[in-house]
Amino acid sequence: MSAAVSVRGLRMTYGTAEVLRGVDLEIRRGEIFTLLGPNGAGKTTTIEILEGFRNRSAGEVSVLGSDPEKGSDAWRARLGIVLQNWRDHNKWGVREIVAHLGEFYDDARDPDDLLAAVGLTGQAGQQVGRLSGGQRRRLDVALGIVGRPELLFLDEPTTGFDPEARQEFHLLLNRLASDDGMTVLLTTHDLVEAEKLAHRTAILAGGRITACGTPAELARAVQAPSRVRWLEDGREQAVTTDDPSRAAWELHERFGGPVPGLEIRRPSLEESYLELIGRAA
């Protein structure tokens, strides 16, 4: 089966600012894929190009077999979209808006089941404008999946979630991906979330994908060099190396025994990630 999303050499320029400088992506069907990057990296830009809301400057893009710039209504019906900022339909009731947007699809989810799935059953009769930030976000997710999309786009979906809601949200996405075979593309700037949730993650920094793979592959790809320190001639010495174990062994050989003040510091994944995006920017 063809990929759900395939992107080659995607470029986007706003005026003279080059935000995307050749992005390549391949998202398989049924996978949860996160696009990770710092503020302003171009995550929203990328996702909106895929949704057909924004015209790219150059490159080839195929989403569910169509070019998003020429997407038909039938194509749109196969997508679910949760954007980063919206405060729409504030005067509608929670259940009312879920039922209303469901009407646009042939095989929409039942509003009550859906509200139960995102934990909003207690708020069904409430006005949308009175929901808390996290509840509002869950409603957005519900509205994104009401039409049983094959491919769901989520732009920073967990902003404003408390830890419990975040956990439940991860379970919900996993269930949707495994039971319904839904493909999910979500953006986040939280490395831990990407690591926990995604089958694969791509890091967007400096307008390009700087690393891509499963959590383990990613950890290996981004691992920043370790620092090995020791005391010699009364002074502190240090080397930076990708292979701290070998460096320590060589030191032991040279000293012919214990190395005074030996210390090895391997940066955490988070520190490695920060260094990576620091290098790319």
Partner: protein, 278 residues
């Protein structure tokens, strides 16, 4: 547009109409703003006569309020609603669903027509209750003038809504021209009270023709003494309103398409930031 978008749009418009009715603040503003103000004016000067005629001010004002209801709903309320829907992301949300934009536009039109119908009924009822207001003697004229008058300004209102930067600036941008038109267009004061230059300008705008058509439906021919040319000029009413309808219908789809096509999440975020900053 397909049948589904039309059906969902009608339901959507009705739902939003009910939401407005349930909104107490909105309801009180409408009640006091239209019916209350109208009743006061009727009690205050309703018994006076329009200069040079035997028509009472109360009768004259009834038609004026009706015309202004259509006009202000289409050219103030509608553009402001469109601007608000853009800023809050409602338009963008409907862009994410198949057939969402046509359904949205149908919905807006339905809500608008419901509002106009409710407010018109309120004005007629107030007029009859307080006294001094006539019932129309020419029902067919009332219907076609109201309908054509609405069709003449709704697309125009949609076009204006697309051009507005945001809902907060809308009131400031639209308020003054609206007041000016209301005073000069002969709906609150007979147009012949105005200097001749103003009369000419007034006749360029649809509000004058809407008002004239409504007066033709409600008022006795005694009123003609205070009308331009001493005639109801109904063919001109039809022609002027139709011309505005055509202008609006040519303009609105282009602008609506441009505005909805440009909607996106980052644009939304940008606008919400500027709205917060100001």
């Amino acid at each position: 547009m397909n049948g589904r978008a039309l059906r969902i749009g009608i339901k959507r418009g009705w739902a939003e109409h009910l939401q407005l009715l349930r909104n107490r603040r909105e309801l009180i503003t409408t009640l006091i703003g239209t019916a209350g103000l109208f009743a006061l004016l009727l009690l205050w000067i309703g018994d006076e006569q329009v200069k040079g005629t035997t028509v009472s001010s109360g009768m004259f004002m009834t038609t004026g309020f009706l015309a202004f209801t259509v006009f202000s709903n289409a050219l103030m309320t509608l553009p402001m609603a469109l601007a608000a829907d853009r800023e809050e992301g409602t338009l963008l949300r409907l862009r994410t669903v198949p057939g969402g934009i046509p359904a949205y536009l149908v919905g807006r039109a339905v809500t608008l027509l419901c509002q106009i119908a409710v407010q018109s009924a309120l004005i007629l009822a107030t007029g009859v209750a307080v006294g001094g207001a006539p019932l129309p003697h020419d029902w067919p004229a009332l219907l076609w003038v109201l309908l054509l008058g609405t069709v003449a300004v709704v697309p125009l209102g949609a076009a204006i809504g697309c051009l507005l930067p945001g809902p907060k600036t809308a009131g400031a941008v639209l308020g003054l021209p609206m007041m000016g038109l209301m005073v000069t267009s002969g709906v609150m004061l007979p147009v012949t009270y105005m200097p001749e230059a103003v009369q000419w300008i007034a006749q360029a705008f649809p509000l004058y023709w809407q008002g004239l058509g409504l007066r033709a439906a409600f008022l006795p021919d005694a009123m003609l003494a205070a009308e331009i040319g001493g005639s109801w000029r109904l063919p001109y009413v039809a022609a002027a309103l139709a011309a505005w309808a055509v202008i609006g219908m040519l303009l609105a789809p282009v602008l609506v398409r441009r505005v909805t096509r440009r909607e996106s999440g980052s644009r939304l975020a940008e606008r919400q930031l500027t709205a917060q900053a100001s």
